[in-house]
């Protein structure tokens, strides 16, 4: 296949990728987007593979078969594990970029040093730094999300953390500049692994101070890095398809992280360097506040008399795998002519859109899933707000308490509802370690227990006591 032919196919693939993302703007056309993406990828792979100088077909087939063998089970994970899977695939993407950059550098060093121009060296250095830091960073994120034992869940902080991280990064960039200026020096082949090592360590250090509540933002940022490393690879290989596809991925990561940051009223730097969860302990033992518990039957009775019930899901629903029980409750209430809506906070869960996918899995029509901004004006008309495993996204302290770590974060106005029921696993504070005063309000009643069990009990009370 000649060069022009290959470029022609790459052009078609680029257009298909753009359509693929374009179709994601509506759930009705979204599946076309997947088909367009698969088509584009197949075209790109075969156009590349079909070139005459690609001769090691055996190697390619083996790598592809192994990739399919590992990729298929990864696509069958339960939907609650999607954040981990996503982080893991960012790691694979970063690894691929880093390895290709490394291979190209050593190849040119051996067989064509005149290719190592300043432009290409900058691109190679950017590719390996971004690629390898995304690799370890995403592995750490995936480990935290999966709750792997030897990775600390709580943010790990130590004195001078940001300063030492910054210093490390500067050393890495400095070594990179030295290589750009002098790519073929005798020490260059030794310096290159040093830069890789720094990028790998930096990825780990970047993620250990980050807590679970910040994961949506961090995953989105890592997504952008993975895209940018593909762009850098495109610069190294003089390949415009890599640049376009990488840029599409990078801009998606960028937009998602901006949305996540806005939804928490925080900046990038604050998420990455702020170490959420270390500023607590301010009102550790203030006044002794007591939770008011409600029985499941009582809660069910109040819900039965409601006109509008708003369910506010959070990470707790995912942990307890309660989405199917939520669906049963939704059915029970709908059967009685009660309007049921879901209020979805952008950062609920552990990745952007996490709650929507879980509720869609449970067959809840997406027309009943409302964004925070669309539901908040209806909250004063809401008879019952049912908080299922959410905490910070309904904490009214975000509105006025300047000492609270979540101050300024837009929240779902559950406190405007006439009655609030909150399901909570235990009497401990939520993931961010912040006490939630909503739970102590006069209109709030607590339902203690695992979200799935509580939902089951509510459904039982509603269907059993059918004489109403």
């Amino acid at each position: 296949m000649s060069h022009s032919f290959v470029q022609f196919f790459y052009l078609i693939a680029t257009a298909l990728f753009i359509f693929s993302l374009h179709w994601m703007n509506d759930p009705k056309t979204a599946r076309n987007g997947v088909f367009a993406g698969v088509g584009a990828m197949a075209i790109a792979v075969f156009a590349t593979w079909g070139q005459p100088f690609i001769v090691n077909h055996g190697w390619i087939v083996v790598a592809i078969v192994l990739g399919v063998a590992v990729g298929w089970p990864l696509s069958r994970v339960p939907l609650t594990a999607v954040p981990q899977r996503t982080a893991l695939s960012h790691a694979f993407g970063g690894l691929a970029a880093g390895l290709v950059g490394t291979a190209k550098y050593y190849l040119w060093l051996q067989e064509g040093p005149e290719n190592l121009t300043a432009f290409k060296m900058v691109a190679i250095i950017a590719e390996i730094i971004l690629g390898f830091l995304t690799f370890t960073g995403s592995l750490m994120a995936a480990g935290k999300l999966q709750e792997v034992k030897w990775i600390p869940q709580r943010p790990v902080t130590y004195p001078l953390q940001n300063l030492s991280n910054l210093a490390l990064m500067l050393i890495g960039v400095g070594l990179g500049i030295a290589l750009v200026i002098n790519p073929t020096a005798t020490w260059a082949p030794l310096l290159f692994p040093a830069i890789i090592a720094i990028a790998l360590i930096f990825g780990v250090l970047l993620i250990i101070p980050i807590g679970g509540a910040d994961m949506p933002t961090v995953i989105a940022i890592l997504n952008a890095y993975a895209g940018l490393s593909a762009v850098a690879m495109g610069f190294v290989l003089d390949n415009k398809l890599l640049i376009t596809a990488g840029a599409l991925d990078g801009s998606s990561g960028l937009i998602l992280s901006i949305i996540m940051c806005k939804a928490m009223n925080r900046s990038f730097t604050n998420v990455l360097f702020g170490a959420f969860g270390q500023v607590q302990a301010t009102k550790a033992i203030g006044e002794q506040q007591v939770y008011k518990a409600e029985t499941f039957e009582g809660a069910a009775q109040i819900m039965e008399q409601a006109n509008l019930v708003v369910i506010i899901p959070g990470y707790g629903m995912a942990v307890a795998q309660a989405q199917h029980k939520v669906r049963e409750l939704y059915d029970q209430l709908k059967k009685r002519g009660i309007t049921v809506k879901f209020a979805i906070h952008p950062v609920a869960g552990r990745m952007p859109g996490h709650m929507n996918v879980l509720l869609a899995e449970a067959d809840i029509p997406y027309t009943d899933l409302l964004e925070m901004d669309d539901i908040n004006s209806d909250m004063p008309q809401c008879d019952v707000a049912l908080v299922v495993g959410a905490n910070d996204v309904v904490n009214p302290a975000a509105r006025y308490d300047k000492s609270s770590p979540i101050y300024g974060m837009p929240i779902i106005a559950a406190d405007k509802a006439r009655t609030v029921f909150a399901i909570k696993r235990s009497k401990n504070p939520g993931f961010a370690g912040i006490d939630n005063e909503l739970y102590f309000a006069d209109k709030t009643w607590m339902l203690f227990g695992d979200a799935k069990n509580v939902m089951g009990e509510l459904v039982k009370a509603l269907s059993g006591g059918g004489m109403h």
């Binding site: 052009l11 680029t14 990864l74 696509s75 899977r85 067989e111 998606s252 998602l256 859109g353």
Partner: protein, 145 residues
Amino acid sequence: MSHRLIRRLGPSLLVGGLGIMAAVTAAPGQEPSQLTGVPLATTAHLERPIDYWSLLFVFVLSTFIGLGIIRRVSRLLHTPLMSLTNAISAIAVVGAILVVGPEYPTNIRILGAIALFASMTNIVSGFLITDRMLKMFKQDDGGKK
């Protein structure tokens, strides 16, 4: 304000960007057969000169196209969006094939093979899980049991 601007400019950016990319990719001037036909081991030092500026143009324009399109993606679909873009950025598979395929030294090809394996994993799992999730989004309550 900028939202509205980008939304309005989105389609024209898309068409314009594609046009420019077409012009750039179709631009003659480089011998098309320089790379092909000859075993690469002897031509590694003969790779075509890079037109840096057109690469940077492509990067900037496709970023704008990306921003314009992604902004309009339904918020409901942000999780599938992320797994779809994951699969799309596994286009690194092209780079991996270009490293593992030619007659390069074995250690170079091993790096390429690992990269190929990693990207292939992302392609397969990314597209499959995206489709699996999208299938679940249903509009109304038809299938009630």
